[in-house]
Subunit: 331 residues, 2 copies
């Protein structure tokens, strides 16, 4: 799509990750489900924060991580999301902008601070997220730059954005604008609990043919289809979306488009430090491949490479030179 | 000192580290001296920040890192330092408190935000620090809790605190209180550029017999004595302080007390990621040993173990279980 100014424009919750090492016993004591994301209010955020250990603050947010990954792979990325005019919001804008992502949504004072997610990482590298949405839940449809949406080859949205009503409306509007401009719409189901909260809404989007590329992991596609079997779930969904991408952690990933299917193995990882962002970076790799017309197998491979990099360190944005790591595929 | 409520009370600049990977070429282009710390104003902080890449925010500050290390080794640590009532200040207090450090200095609004240091890490693991002191430069003598100082076996101060006038006064007062209570005073020279700025002040403290334990690295002890030779510099200073501790990076460390001397090798490090905090954590180990009456060699060994842990990851505070790593020495 040479007429497009951006390759991938991502819209999602603008969240700073507050990452702390923890133990399985701590998760048990707090009644938390390992690997999940839950939304919490200011009071619970304060309570949990006072219990957890010292932390690193690193910019995150699912779709924003994907945008950072797309930029790191050398494609043109943008992000739409809401921060407050506070220190966290300043860090957030700096981190995205200096990563090469176009981020022009203005900071606005809604009386709540920039969102943060307390990410508890157990020794096995799994992350459990406790998200206080703050300013992110107030992204209004009026904050969208519709020209920007019209000039991006792919609009990518995170399922998490469906949780609060205001950004849900922004998301629906963004999809309308993208489709009216003839652009592709990509969507990630985000989390099984998120699917449980919004199954009808997600299915409506899919059934109405509004999703060109759907991302899910194995648990999510099964939760969406409500069948405990991967291939049955895939069969139930594959014909409702243009392209279906399913990630399977260490078992690799698959993509289906019409009658075409590709399966790739996962990339080797020396040590799993923190799985936060693995799905986000997989999407970044796949979408970069799509934007370059690389075909399913090569796009999946780019996804696997980007995901493998991000789980080798704390934080959900790439630290190594992704373009170099993906050199053979991008060449 | 069984009559003491705290083993080590540290006083220093309360600074959040904003850590970003960089290249030697970037340091050259910015005219920065690798491995150094420089003080910058708000305008230069803004300018440099806009040039540097995405970052992790992790609580730091030299003496505070030492306090976190002392607590991680199982001794009783406190910290005195000034933060603003902002998000960074909130993170700062959380990180120290949840690390087990007593930190009761109130946040105060001086019209400047909590301090941050932009830490640029080159691929060889060396760090170059650009520090905006913000609220930290306003720590007044009146913020000292003199009962707390009187109840700590060792008062530990960083040379960096000598830079701004207000905390310098607080430092002088804290030393008076500690000495009047019969406590030990430990001091780190911090940085060769800091010594160049304050050689007379540091030498006055030492010559007046106010320093019981002096920490320096090889370059610092030579800068203080103004001789380009380690043993000559050591000989010039050793009799002016109760105990002299000199760290020598990969060449180990030495300690001298009167006629007694101990030398230890450095501990093996798998991969040097970020040397920020190596000296701070060495001091934490040594002071923990001192507080337990372990003797020079074992105290140096504790220092070497704590320093080796912190340079294996980003950030200047321990992440692994230091007590377990130091098990044999502490037993």
């Amino acid at each position: 799509m040479t007429d497009c100014r951006l390759d991938v424009l991502c819209i999602g919750n603008a969240i700073v990750d507050v990452i702390s090492d923890t133990t399985d016993a701590f998760l048990d004591a707090e009644g938390l489900t390992k690997g999940s994301m839950r939304l919490i209010d200011a009071e619970e955020a304060e309570r949990l924060y006072s219990h957890m250990g010292p932390a690193r603050e690193i910019s995150g947010g699912s779709a924003a991580n994907t945008a950072a990954g797309v930029a790191a792979l050398g494609s043109r990325a943008g992000f739409i999301g809401q921060v407050a005019p506070d220190q966290l919001g300043g860090f957030y804008r700096h981190d995205l902008t200096s990563a090469g992502v176009e981020f022009t949504t203005p900071a606005t004072d809604f009386g709540v601070p920039t969102a943060r997610s307390m990410v508890l990482v157990t020794p096995d590298g799994h992350r459990t997220m406790n998200t206080f949405l703050g300013a992110a839940q107030n992204l209004p449809p009026t904050a969208l730059d519709e020209d920007q949406i019209g000039s991006a080859a792919i609009l990518y949205l995170e399922g998490y954005l469906w949780d609060p009503e205001v950004p849900r409306n922004a998301m629906v509007r963004a999809i309308e604008v993208a489709r009216a401009s003839g652009r592709k719409v990509a969507f990630t189901l985000s989390d099984t609990f998120c699917i449980d909260r919004h199954r009808d809404g997600f299915n409506a989007l899919i059934d109405e043919g509004k999703i060109d590329i759907l991302f899910a992991n194995e648990a999510e596609i099964q939760a969406l289809a409500m069948v405990p079997h991967l291939e049955t779930a895939v069969a139930a969904v594959r014909n409702k979306v243009g392209t279906l991408v399913v990630t399977r952690s260490e078992h690799g990933a698959l993509a289906i488009r019409g009658s075409e299917r590709a399966d790739v193995p996962s990339e080797p990882v020396e040590k799993v430090v923190d799985t936060t962002g693995a799905g986000d970076l997989f999407a970044a790799g796949f979408l970069t491949g799509e934007a370059r017309g690389l075909g399913l197998e090569q796009s999946l491979k780019l996804g696997a490479i980007a995901a493998a990099e991000v789980i080798g360190h704390y934080g959900a944005r790439p630290e190594a030179d992704l373009k170099a790591l993906a050199g053979a595929v991008l060449a």
